[in-house]
Symmetry: C2
């Protein structure tokens, strides 16, 4: 039920994919037959490659610096693009004089509102607009023979602005009489997003204990190592874009639409990428600007953002204010959960999803979904303010919502005198609380149990803050629910070569997570060919079949089943060929570790290579697509994390000593890349919990933290001991049994740390990030 | 029945492809099921795009210089490779000192017999061998930071050779006691290649007239505008090669084998190419050398041959000596044809085909196939001599053989007092003369008739040389037979985009002939989408499905049917989707010019785009392969050419005024590219007939013509008026009805000119090229 790139809802029913198309209010349902049947689950005991922690297939390139990132693309005659950005939080551009810049030697083109096509962008704004609603908005762009000249040219552009009233603080923006960020009021769509089930007031009436708390979470930057950017090249009317992106197909479609050219004329390529975390799912203004500059000059253009632009112009995780009220009975059962929250959109709606799927509302999902609770109401106020637009970031909403919800649960357990895990098990949801569908699999109980063992849960302070010392240690935990089930459409092709090796093609991308390796393992497993003999090609819209963007932890569960399906299709053909050569029936044969053997007599075998040599050039090509998800079922990833912290009560410093992180993500394809994801999520979650914050100056609308000195990311020395793990087993949701693990480990990190701090010092930290000053302030109360 | 790249014979039986694998003397037959059924022929009256002369889809790139040839590939850190070549026609390398060159600043690697792996090459020789058998053989190679340093380094390598006896003239090479080019004698396999049917002596006994003539043809260079060469780049163990080649898949497989690495680790890319003509079907030594130098240095290497190397080291059309004896009855019917010929292989067997398919023997094919004749014997002597190895060139063998055969026919007609066309019709073959299979289609009679009309055949001199003048004009003609039917395997994929545009992928290459355009037209026709909305990707082994190399005029008839099949597969899915949306049965719908309409009510229609928008990302991907050729049938291209010449009897100069060229190549897909092929073939055939000749100095083994000054190619001023045409209609051999036209127009050009000269001046020129000195000499006899 997650929206896809085009704002269309894909639901799966039976063996067909039903696409519900919503356009201009009309809803139509159409069926698309999937070309391939699904396959039975792998037999656990026979697995050869799946589950192994094999090193990344592209490890050599990464370690030697040979890996080609978008930054590394150099084309002959290439120009460099730079963007002039608005210095005011709200202004009208009244004069722009580019004539001096135009005369600078080496400047080849200048683009602005005066000569750019009026390409719609955000709400009712344009690529270049005379009304500018945040610091950093695009005013003009330059293409020059080198970066230095391009920068100099920016300095020579004269821009005159009329200042307009502005508002940065989201609560202020909601007040009557606040400066209007946009026509139509600062509340997105003029009303809160409301979800409700049961009778919330009745629920509170039934409660023995009511918990009421206020929480706030900050703006977090994605801080990608590789900044956003593009290299573009026109060949006639054919546009090639090298883009640092999580979604080559999305960029392709977005660019075709923005430029008004056929999709078939746009090729988007991404090989290696240095981080995205949700911020690189679509083309940016910079992509379109680069394409226009290249068109104007007839030369390739490279336009990569610098670090300051990366902070200003690529989105961020929005801040939130959450008022939570929860009712529980004495036995711990939840009777009601109420959330009222304010989320700061920035100056525009995010272009990622239409407003009804707003990521601002996503923070209410854990309240609705994590626990069994009959009466739930969430009321979310998305508000415009004069800062750049927010976007998705690793587990959007869930990270913010879970920070508050899981502290409320911890507090309830404390007040009821219950073990926090016992309280959670008391409210264990056995089906999807919103749709009432059963889960395809839920092993959260195993996660609680395994995590508790590994952190030595029994060693936590029985009474929070019971030990008074300079350094107080504590243990806390939190759980999580996430989508991560993926789904169709996704396609793959496998070509078998004469020497028994294979080439695998699919239109997804490896955004640094190890997708290449995982897909090679899946193909290896199904085909019986060693991973070293399979070469994978990803991230090229022109030559590979469609696969979705890498977001929502969907890459493995969406594309993996298509890869297996393609491998199975190739295997069928290989076994047919082998059967005709060996005078056996294809169904009596199998392939394993490069050998074709008789199932009922595995000692009779022949190297696969001897069979493939005989196919000559009659290439075997397997084509696969992902089968549909099981109908009327919910696919979720669950997990529990446990933090062991030490709090210095004199300095307020929090040190995370250890995090145990156990998730039910279905079958593990590669234990090494899975652990990498868990480690990365914990580090980013810890940064969110303890140090990272984008700070806006309310008086000027300027960001005070637009660089890696002011914006505090965790470093190697901050990283705790991480104990990753999984609830063993396979999820029947798809033919590989795997769900996504990219986002889940981030979700419960901050609340586990906050609960551990509470366990250590007996005070609850409800404002993120939990910096030493806040700890000291809390201790003095 | 043509051998494919691996020396395997592919024959087609029914709906399956039977691959006869011949390895180490064992023959096995295996069946490979083709994934798709063939399609019914197009309905002529409904054709929208097929047949039109639409301009090339890549015309813009070519005209603006944006087209990327192998020469244009620049990679960061790229080195330049150069090859030191042997200056002797036969020698043993006794000392090689590279130490001075090694010390030259900028030199990064030197490769020679001393440090290169012993990669087998030709017969029993190696990539670098101590025994060198022709001028130009590879002795050492250098990689340096620029081309100039690389050249300087070559000059600094000291090589000492022991001279060995050598022989250049092929007749001399066959004589007892001739210097041995290789161990085992100078006659390839020690015996002539003999073909025989009927009773040749009995045939001559039955004849009323015997014609006996000797002919000789010269060595012709391919003279590609873009010389041979490669740019190679290793990323870990993955090798990418940009190669100027007619066969990306062949280069891929050849390189994997030469380097002993998996095929899956080799990627070969060719975008644009400046000519191949048969000489660029496989990797060269330069390709392997570039890969080894790149491996040694850890840097990309560009190794492009210079013009002199292009003449020496890339093969050529071999010379021939042909003794022909033909018997005819008074009514013109042929009773016997006998050929004895000597062909010069050069110092090695060509690596292209095993010797039993030797191109040297191909010159006997027209003798065996062009006319109905019960008694035929051909006896071909392939001989080694100390010049570089020959290779395929546009219609190998047929060009040489037809030059002689069609003059013999002309001579017979003259001596019998018959119209040369009438004589040919008298001997019109109604089935394949070797296999006894019927032709799928043969409209050579139409070609004769149409050609005769267009040249005004009746205006020729009734008596050859009857008019005595300074400038004597004459008209002559010749016919041709060629394979050109193509065949499986070939595969294609078509992806339909949400905006109703499409991307077409296939692993063939456009070697300058217009394949991209033709395949887009075929897909357009089948899908009902405009060619401007289809983007094609070719020439990348990693991302596109297998298609054969572009040789043997096979590209259109092999790959075209696979493209149509893929388009039909996509159309089926599109119509299914449209049916579910429009509440119609898919079989009641059709697509034409971007509109989906009801077959029984074409006014009810909906733009395709509205349907494709609804598929969301549920991509429609059509997969197609070529169906088999009809069983027990011969597929041939036929044609007739008519030349109108003017001979200056004082200077001996021959001026071709007009050539009419009519072929039965089945259906025309693009009339413009077809005419281009005819024009190109005629120009190259005229160069062969009148001016081009690679001359070897018999005393030194050195080539006297290794540049475009000494080697005389036709220029724009030499080109005659060309009237191209076809025998209308479609060939049932495959689902697009088309055969190949790349090679046929070259075949009958030289004999048509020679016959026209005979008609003009009454003397017959039997030695190629027909230069003024030979004309004068002939006139004085």
């Amino acid at each position: 039920m997650l929206p896809n790139a085009s704002g269309k809802v894909v639901v799966t029913v039976g063996r067909r994919v039903k696409t519900r198309v919503e356009e201009e209010g009309k809803i139509e349902e159409i069926n698309v037959e999937l070309p391939h049947e699904d396959l039975p689950p792998w037999e656990e005991k026979n697995l050869v490659w799946v589950g192994k922690g094999i090193p990344r297939v592209d490890g050599f390139e990464k370690c030697t610096g040979k890996a080609k990132y978008t930054y590394d693309i150099h084309l002959p005659g290439m120009l460099y693009g730079k963007i002039l950005r608005c210095p005011h939080p709200h202004a009208r551009l009244i004069r722009l004089d580019t004539s001096k810049a135009q005369r600078l030697s080496g400047v080849k083109a200048i683009l602005s509102q005066e000569n750019a096509p009026p390409i719609p962008w955000y709400n009712d704004s344009f690529l270049f607009d005379r009304t500018l609603r945040c610091v950093g908005e695009e005013v003009a762009a330059v293409a020059a023979v080198d970066e230095y000249i391009a920068r100099d040219a920016l300095d020579m552009i004269e821009a005159e602005y009329e200042s307009l009233p502005f508002v940065v603080d989201p609560e202020e923006a909601l007040r009557p009489g606040a400066p209007p960020v946009r026509p139509g009021g600062n509340l997105l769509d003029g009303k809160p997003i409301i979800y409700s089930r049961g009778e919330i007031e009745q629920g509170f009436d039934e409660a023995d204990l009511i918990i009421e708390e206020n929480f706030s979470t900050q703006v977090q930057a994605h801080a990608c190592m590789e900044t956003h950017g593009s290299v573009v090249n026109w060949e006639g009317d054919h546009l090639t874009i090298w883009e640092s992106t999580q979604g080559v197909s999305d960029v392709r479609e977005g660019m075709a639409k923005a430029l008004g050219i056929p999709i078939s004329k746009v090729r988007v390529i991404k090989d290696f990428m240095g981080g995205g975390f949700g911020s690189k799912t679509r083309e940016g203004k910079y992509t379109v600007i680069a394409a226009l500059l290249a068109k104007m000059t007839g030369r390739p253009v490279k336009l990569m953002l610098d670090r300051k632009e990366e902070f200003y112009a690529t989105g961020h995780r929005p801040s939130s204010l959450q008022y939570v009220k929860a009712g529980v009975k004495k036995d711990g059962s939840l009777t009601a959960i109420y959330l009222r929250s304010i989320g700061a959109c920035g100056a525009y709606e995010t272009p990622l999803f239409p407003s009804k799927f707003s990521m601002i509302d996503a923070l209410a999902r854990p309240y609705r979904e994590l626990y069994h609770c009959p009466n739930v109401k969430t009321e979310v106020y998305p508000v415009y303010n004069n800062i750049p637009v927010h976007t998705a970031q690793r587990a959007p909403g869930h990270v913010e919502g879970t920070f508050a919800l899981e502290q409320v649960m911890d507090q309830a357990a404390h007040q009821l005198g219950m073990d926090p895990i016992a309280l959670r098990m008391k409210n264990y949801a056995l089906k999807d609380q919103v749709e009432d569908f059963p889960y395809t699999r839920k092993a959260l109980d195993q996660c609680y149990q395994k995590g508790a063992e590994k952190i030595q849960w029994e060693k936590r302070n029985k009474k929070p803050g019971e030990k008074k010392a300079l350094i107080c240690e504590g243990i806390g935990m939190a759980g999580q629910i996430w989508g991560g089930g993926g789904g169709p459409p996704a396609y793959a092709i496998i070509k078998i070569n004469q020497d028994g090796t294979a080439n695998l093609l699919t239109g997804t991308q490896d955004i640094g997570t190890g997708s290449k390796t995982v897909f090679v393992q899946i193909a290896s497993e199904e085909l019986g060919i060693s991973p070293k003999d399979i070469t994978i090609t990803l991230g090229d819209t022109e030559t590979t079949p469609y696969a979705p963007r890498s977001s929502g932890s969907r890459t493995v569960p969406s594309v993996g089943p298509a890869v297996r399906s393609a491998a199975a299709d190739a295997k069928r053909q290989l076994l047919d060929l082998a059967g005709s050569i060996l005078d056996s029936k294809a169904e009596d044969l199998a392939i394993r570790e490069g050998q074709i053997y008789l199932k009922n007599n595995p000692t009779r075998k022949i190297p696969l290579k001897e069979i493939t040599q005989k196919m000559g050039n009659n290439m075997i090509m397997g084509v696969g697509s992902r089968g549909p998800n099981p109908p009327q079922a919910a696919i979720n990833v669950f997990g529990a994390q446990f933090a062991h912290v030490a709090v210095n009560t004199a300095t307020g410093e929090v040190r995370v000593l250890k995090v145990v992180s156990i998730h039910d993500a279905g079958r593990v394809i590669n234990s090494m890349t899975l652990n990498n994801q868990i480690e990365g999520g914990i580090v980013q979650g810890m940064g969110y919990g303890l140090m990272e914050e984008v700070i806006w100056d309310k008086g000027t609308g300027i960001m005070l933290t637009p660089n890696l000195h002011a914006y505090k990311l965790p470093t190697m020395l901050d990283i705790p001991e991480v104990v990753p793990g999984v609830a063993e087993g396979s999820d029947p949701a798809n033919n590989i049994g795997a769900k996504g693990i990219g986002e889940p480990p981030k979700i419960p990190t901050a609340p586990a740390i906050a609960n551990a701090i509470y366990n250590a010092i007996g005070v609850r930290l409800k404002e993120l990030p939990i910096t030493p000053d806040k700890v000291l302030r809390a201790l003095k109360i």
